[in-house]
């Protein structure tokens, strides 16, 4: 399988400005590498502040990376010409978390969807029919064509955002917490629509979420992030059946499961959950997880663990698995 996106040693540091000098950097994303293959969903999970959203935005160059390479369909995005960049802007799309701020309140649904189409100079015979078809593919219809965003519920707005990006026939879509602002009964609808569209059009997704249940449902492969680092990458099933990194184990044991019997079992295992993520301004030395890790050794405090392969497609950055 060919990768659609390859991320190599990506870094994004945000400066903290003092009165005259830069006081330091927030290391939001610190040297991460992964690739996403055609037609798959790569899930990125982690707690708030771990850098998952920054990763998604940096890949699309909505934020300029500090260092690293982003390879899209074999070409380095950082070296794109103006023309190539415009083409990349069409092929790579993003769906944001908040459906209330991502649609222009003064435009009708028709205008919202047609604006990017016009910008990219895509020829459409009958604009109205074109938009109606898109609306139908995301579960809306003709009736909604000339309405304004405030007339829609959160779930419907996310569908409009989805129709808008689909109008450009993208290949790669970053889904940044697309259902976090929605209720569970509506969330399930949107997730199913996203899956259906993927199997129909062969979209490649980067699915960013803090909800492990949702990530598992959506993703083929999952990357777990902690304080700007990827600590584990593996096939979705294996991450849940055989989590290797102590952080992944902690994260999994902490999720409340909607099943009372299983919940009691998990509660017993939860003894290892402790502490809170530290600040990414001065992250701990060595392995960033060591202050919270029940298995921390001497080496964890000093040296950063490399990402090592433990089984087929399953990688982990932890000194329990790596040889120093």
């Amino acid at each position: 399988m060919e990768p659609v996106i390859q991320v190599k040693h990506l870094k994004k540091y945000f400066p903290i400005k003092g009165l005259f000098f830069t006081k330091g950097h927030v290391k939001a994303v610190d040297d991460i590498s992964f690739e996403i293959y055609k037609g798959e969903t790569f899930g990125l999970v982690g707690e708030s502040g771990c850098g998952k959203t920054t990763t998604g935005r940096t890949i699309l160059r909505l934020i300029e990376p500090t260092a690293g390479e982003i390879i899209f369909e074999g070409k380095n995005v950082m070296k794109f010409s103006k023309e190539e960049m415009k083409e990349f802007r069409r092929k790579a799309q993003i769906m944001f978390q908040d459906p209330y701020s991502s649609l222009n309140p003064r435009q009708t649904v028709f205008d919202i969807i047609m604006e990017p189409v016009k910008f990219h100079g895509i020829e459409v015979d009958d604009p109205e029919e074109f938009v109606v078809k898109l609306l139908e593919s995301v579960g809306l219809n003709e009736m909604h064509l000339y309405r304004y965003p405030h007339e829609f519920s959160g779930g419907q707005r996310q569908r409009i955002a989805l129709a808008r990006l689909m109008a450009l026939k993208p290949q790669f879509i970053v889904l940044d917490e697309p259902t976090s602002a929605l209720d569970v009964s509506v969330q399930a609808n949107i997730l199913n629509t996203l899956k259906d569209l993927q199997s129909e059009y062969g979209f490649t997704y980067l699915f960013i979420s803090h909800d492990l249940g949702v990530v598992k449902y959506m993703s083929h492969r999952i990357g777990v992030m902690y304080l700007g680092k990827l600590v584990e990458i593996g096939p979705s099933d294996r991450i849940f059946e055989n989590p290797l990194h102590p952080y992944t184990q902690m994260l999994l044991s902490a999720i409340p499961v909607p099943d009372p019997e299983l919940a009691q079992e998990l509660k017993a295992k939860r003894k290892m959950v402790k502490g809170e993520p530290p600040s990414p301004i001065n992250p701990p030395t060595g392995c960033r997880f060591h202050p919270r890790c029940p298995f921390a050794k001497e080496i964890c405090k000093k040296e950063e663990p490399p990402l090592v392969k433990v089984e087929e497609n399953h990688y982990v950055a932890c000194w329990l698995y790596a040889k120093s």
């Binding site: 707690e47 708030s48 519920s153 779930g155 419907q156 209720d183 569970v184 009964s185 509506v186 969330q187 399930a188 609808n189 997730l191 199913n192 899956k195 803090h210 909800d211 492990l212 249940g213 949702v214 598992k216 449902y217 099933d237 849940f240 902690m250 994260l251 999994l252 044991s253 902490a254 999720i255 409340p256 499961v257 909607p258 099943d259 009372p260 299983l262 919940a263 998990l266 509660k267 939860r270 959950v273 402790k274 502490g275 809170e276 993520p277």
Partner: protein, 325 residues
């Protein structure tokens, strides 16, 4: 366990807005038993927070408690909390019935130390003679909510603490007067999962330690499965189903409860496809007639459009409001 501490009957709250009367909750009735964790669960706008606030008249204009009663059985006898005047309810609120709100960042005053804020609640309710004495006691309270190094933390301002630590302080202010009932309104929604697990465990430990009753308001079914003894499922301002955790999760009766359980991706099992509930939550200015769930219900019948279903006891302690039963 079977002794009720709160008996809520026909609680109805309306909000009088320019757009019309929002019927936030209508005829909500349930009992809460001594020492249990009772969960109110539902989606945005179902009225779970309004219900919890109405229990101690915490409804601000344009909202009004239209009718209903909340009988509170305390050691001193039974009272209807909705019949008390402002003075009387304030003596109970914060002292015998305490709240923990969702957002720890806005529940604390940024201009006062956390010790002062805990002490203030105790002083107002006459538990301590002065703020100074209260601050000394606050150290023990911070210790009981598992804040490390409480002697120095008591002098911290809220911005010096992390989100999880702040929520521990808020819980501290809640338990400072050793309340009989602790109402926790989405106490972990603003927090990360690893922190959430620790906060939920803390609330449960404190409930046992102080022999308190917890009313937990949440939209997260996982949290309910883990912490609650009994559950009330709310939909569009009405109670759809009440039962023990086992009854609700193993044998859900109301089509809404069934739909909700199937719509949540369980991270521990393999789910091929989620069953979504079609449609969206109705507008509460003009809610659907009859059963409010009927436009989204796969089993809707003629009667559902006309008649409001009453809560019926199907098995021991398991109530459902649905015409199917």
């Amino acid at each position: 366990m079977s002794e009720p501490i709160l008996e809520v009957r026909n609680l109805t709250v309306h909000f009088y807005t320019y757009a019309g009367i929002v019927k936030a909750i209508e005829d909500v009735s349930f009992d809460v038993y001594k020492g249990e964790t009772f969960a109110l669960v539902g989606e945005t706008g179902c009225g779970k927070s309004v219900t919890s606030r109405a229990l101690t008249q915490l409804i601000e204009s344009p909202g009004r408690i239209v009718r209903g009663s909340v009988i509170y059985h305390s050691d001193k006898g039974s009272v209807d909390l909705l019949k008390l005047n402002e003075e009387e309810i304030r003596e109970i609120r914060g002292s015998e019935i305490a709240y923990i709100f969702q957002d720890p960042h806005s529940s604390l005053d940024p201009l006062y130390t956390v010790g002062y804020q805990i002490a203030e609640g105790m002083e107002v309710h006459g538990r301590v003679k002065s703020i100074k004495e209260g601050i000394q006691k606050a150290v023990d309270i911070l210790r009981s909510v598992l804040i490390p190094d409480p002697e120095s933390r008591v002098k911290n301002y809220p911005h010096e603490l992390s989100g999880g630590m702040k929520q521990r302080v808020v819980i501290g202010t809640g338990i400072a007067n050793s309340p009989k009932i602790l109402i926790a309104d989405e106490p972990t929604t603003a927090l990360d999962v690893t922190v959430q697990a620790q906060i939920l465990e803390l609330i449960d430990d404190l409930r046992k330690k102080y022999n308190a009753t917890v009313i937990l308001i949440t939209h997260n079914l996982g949290v309910v499965a883990e912490t609650a003894d009994r559950v009330a499922v709310m939909y569009a301002g009405k109670i759809a189903e009440i039962g023990s955790v086992e009854q609700i999760f193993k044998n859900p009766l109301h089509p809404y409860t069934k739909g909700l359980l199937k719509a949540v991706p369980n991270p521990m099992t393999k789910v091929e496809r989620l069953d979504a509930i079609p449609g969206t939550v109705p507008n509460l200015i003009t809610p659907p007639g009859g059963c409010r769930f009927h436009p989204r219900c796969p089993f809707a019948m003629e009667i559902c459009k006309k008649k409001v279903p009453e809560l019926k006891e199907i098995e021991d302690g398991h109530f459902v409001a649905c015409h199917l039963y």
